[in-house]
């Protein structure tokens, strides 16, 4: 797995992400500065990590989405390359047009950091190979603007095409407003693009990959990706 972690000014979970990629795949990712125009040769996974790119000023992810490296990411994605955006990364992917919709302020207008339960809707995507469909995993969230919305047509398409990959749920997989901490429409926590090769999600699987630090529930995502890429290589 030759992964590249993008680094924008103000991003702050790039180190967490890099450590997780190294722990799970055994390979050190390349850290790619936002002013670069190209991804390192041979990159097979681009990760847009969490944080507060440009302080999240203006709109979350808006300024980062317009930096030079994102053109390279768009080209990479258009050719079917795998792109994972987590938290601010999800916001950046939405702002850059790689994913539909937007992430608005959490319903209660507060930043929320806690463990949530995610229902994995499908296991037949490169991002969810490490899970079973319907499985519930516990991973943390840490965001103030994770309330996913899109127009009715877009939502209908996402649902119709099975592109909602993760939903906020109860520990038993029940979808219930009480477990939807940020108020996202249809409890959407993560979606893929129409090609299925770009995933954006609000929760932080990279922070739950060790038993003593939270849990190992986030590991499946990275292990699955590593497996897929190993087979492809």
């Amino acid at each position: 797995m030759k992964s590249a972690v993008l680094v924008f000014p103000g991003i702050n979970r790039e180190r967490d992400m890099a450590r997780t990629l190294r722990l799970v795949s055994g390979q050190q990712p390349a850290m790619v500065w936002h002013t670069e125009h190209e991804l390192p040769a041979g990159t097979d996974l681009v990760v847009v990590p969490g944080g507060f790119s440009y302080g999240d000023y203006l709109r979350c992810g808006a300024i980062a989405a317009r930096s030079p490296i994102m053109d390279a990411v768009r080209q990479f994605a258009a050719k079917g390359g795998l792109v994972l955006g987590v938290c601010n990364g999800f916001q950046i992917l939405c702002e850059s047009g790689l994913l539909p919709g937007v992430l608005m302020r959490n319903e209660n207008l507060r930043f929320i950091c806690r463990d949530v339960f995610l229902k994995v809707e499908r296991s037949d995507t490169p991002f969810t190979r490490g899970y079973n469909a319907g499985q519930v995993v516990r991973v943390p969230v840490a965001h103030g603007e994770g309330n996913y919305i899109a127009d009715g047509e877009t939502i209908a398409r996402l649902e119709g095409e099975g592109r909602v990959i993760f939903r906020y749920s109860g520990p038993d997989g029940m979808i219930d407003p009480n477990w939807n901490h940020n108020g996202a429409i249809n409890a959407i926590a993560g979606i893929v693009n129409d090609g299925g090769n770009v995933l954006g999600m609000m929760p932080h699987p990279e922070n739950h990959v060790e038993a003593e630090i939270g849990s190992t529930d986030g590991r499946g995502l990275f292990a699955g990706l590593a497996e897929v890429l190993k087979r492809a290589a």
Binding site: P9, N12, T20, G55, F111, C113, E212, I213
Partner: protein
């Protein structure tokens, strides 16, 4: 030629918070009337906050040494050796008054300030803590203050990217008009790569880094002194606004140039901004400093020397660079989009000289600015100890279960989840024990070592008996660290009290400090940094004496840390202690 722009009147002196005898001391020291800029510089250096003039004599009684102490009080933060070639850098500081005026920005800039103190020393911040005291829950301002302060702490720390892992929140009517916001930051550095404030070498470039200077937080006094005109709105002293994004860039840029070995000395521009950072760097290195204010990056037009020297704009630093590394350092700062300007140089003269528009605005003896600050042995009295309450005289509760339910429902004892869920407490991927336990535990790098962190104090004990209350606060901190399995190493303190000019308040202060000292000595638990916040009172009514104690301990294997939750049914419960 010294620019003597304004006649210094007794009123102007008083507006600068200087007493007549303190002003006389200035006259004796420099042998002439100060310029307005100089008066501003003295007021900044000799105020309570900077000079510790009421507290210094008593703070000398605190134990500050142990074999594992690398740097005690006196630098930006304290430094202890935690083994494996690593050092832990930490400090706690108050931002009480600004947080009362503007809770969000006040608390946010408080967090920003303490983080800077830590990374100035070359450490990457790995955790934040806070100790908050609010007025009675039913007081009309409390709700607004609580939500603003909590959002501000989160707003800064979350964006900067450091986990806020522990703290405390209390409510009491004595804080109605004077809340306390104490923030603590903890960082990690290689033990032989700590950076200090003392400049060395003559003719070295002094570099200004970070954000531009504005009229933030300039004391009310400047209103009186600056002439009013059409722009008077522009000259309004303003609240400092935090910019965590710039600070994150400043962190990365500083750590990068430190790693490239460009830095001789570095100092955060804290409360007294350019004034205290420049004088401290010079004085500690036995050097003079000349500043050219024309070179200072300014956010607003027409700023005077007075305003630049007193500005409290955030996210700024002063550095002495190795001359041959200047270009390299500049390139790094430009890459991170930060301002970088050579604003002065070190001199052999031991003078602090400030030039602006070709005029000398200040020319002062640099050592004496700090060293000759007044130091007071303020009179103090110990208040009558309240009589012990006879437990037998208290009506027993009808039902223990009811009493317990009422207790856990009180604002002080109830769960603080609603607070700490607004803080990112997991970023970094090292939070072993999250908020909610006795102390937080944070893994050090990839382990197996861990650090235990906590803040503690029980103000009502300090009120009832300052000496015992001071001891108790340290003991509580110690217990919380040992309860998670850590070996306690050292503390930082944040001493919040009322007006020290009142002997009974001074009595509380002296008592608490002696108590802290006694407990720290007994436990071999030195104080390596701290902060004093006095004059916390409104309408002559002081806050409860609140010496917050921030403790750090080390655990050899983070996997062995103990947590609070019962693990299994049917296990024995033991009570340890008296």
């Amino acid at each position: 030629m010294l620019a003597n722009d304004v006649k210094i009147t007794p009123e102007l002196v008083a507006e600068h918070g200087l007493k007549p005898d303190e002003y006389q001391r200035i006259l004796d020291l420099i042998g002439r009337e100060p310029t307005l800029t100089e008066l501003g510089i003295f007021s900044a250096m000799w105020n309570e906050h900077c000079s510790y003039k009421s507290s210094k004599v008593h703070l000398r009684g605190l134990p500050t040494k142990a074999p594992w102490v690398i740097q005690g009080p006196g630098e930006n933060a304290g430094v202890i050796d935690i083994g494996d070639g690593l050092a832990c850098v930490f400090k706690m500081e108050s931002h009480n008054h600004p947080s009362y005026i503007e809770p969000y920005q006040g608390a946010a800039t408080g967090v920003g300030g303490i983080l800077r103190d830590v990374f100035t020393m070359g450490a990457r911040p790995i955790a934040c803590l806070n100790a908050l005291s609010f007025g009675a829950p039913e007081h009309p301002k409390t709700r607004h203050l609580v939500s603003g302060v909590v959002a501000g702490i989160g707003g800064y720390g979350n964006s900067f990217g450091v986990p806020t892992v522990a703290g405390s929140v209390r409510f009491h009517k004595r804080y109605d008009g004077n809340i306390l916001v104490n923030a603590m930051a903890v960082g990690l550095a290689e033990k032989d790569k700590i950076f200090y404030a003392a400049a060395s070498g003559v003719g070295m470039p002094i570099v200004y880094l970070g954000s531009k200077t504005g009229r933030d937080g300039i004391h009310g006094a400047s209103m009186a002194s600056a002439e009013f005109d059409d722009n008077s709105e522009e000259k309004r002293p303003t609240v400092q606004v935090g910019d965590p994004f710039s600070e994150k860039l400043l962190l990365e840029a500083c750590l990068e140039i430190m790693a490239k070995d460009c830095v001789i000395a570095i100092q955060d521009m804290g409360a007294a901004g350019l004034t205290s950072s420049a004088t401290e760097m010079g004085a500690k290195g036995n050097l003079g400093v000349t500043l050219d204010l024309d070179k200072v990056p300014c956010r607003e037009e027409g700023m005077t020397a007075y305003e630049m020297m007193l500005s409290e704009s955030q996210e700024r630093m002063l550095m002495v660079l190795k001359p041959d590394k200047e270009k390299e350092a500049e390139a790094i700062f430009r890459k991170w989009g930060l301002d970088f300007a050579v604003v002065g140089e070190t001199t052999p003269t031991m003078r602090f000289i400030v030039k602006h528009h070709g005029q000398v605005m200040a020319d002062l003896p640099i050592k004496e600015l700090g060293d000759s600050a007044p130091e007071y042995k303020r009179p103090f009295v110990s208040l009558e100890k309240p009589a012990a309450i006879d437990a037998g005289a208290i009506e027993p509760p009808g039902s223990i279960a009811d009493a317990l339910e009422r207790l856990v429902a009180t604002p002080d004892l109830c769960s603080k989840r609603w607070v700490w869920e607004q803080y990112d407490h997991i970023i970094g991927g090292n939070t072993v024990q999250r908020p909610g336990g006795d102390a937080a535990v944070v893994r050090v790098l990839d382990g197996p070592k861990g650090l235990a962190l906590t803040t503690d104090v029980t103000p009502r004990y300090c009120e009832a008996n300052p000496f015992e209350g001071g001891k108790q606060a340290v003991a509580e901190c110690w217990r919380n660290l040992t309860a998670v399995g850590a070996t306690p190493l050292a503390i930082t303190d944040n001493l919040n009290f009322g007006n020290p000019e009142r002997p009974e308040i001074m009595g509380q202060f002296v008592g608490c400090v002696r108590g802290i000292a006694e407990a720290c000595k007994a436990l071999d638990f030195p104080v390596v940094s701290g902060n004093v916040s006095l004059y916390n009172e409104t309408n002559g009514k002081a806050i409860l004496p609140t010496p917050s104690i921030g403790g750090v301990g080390v655990i050899a294997d983070f996997k062995k840390s103990a947590s609070l939750a019962f693990k299994k049914e049917g296990e024995a419960i033991l009570v340890v202690g008296e």
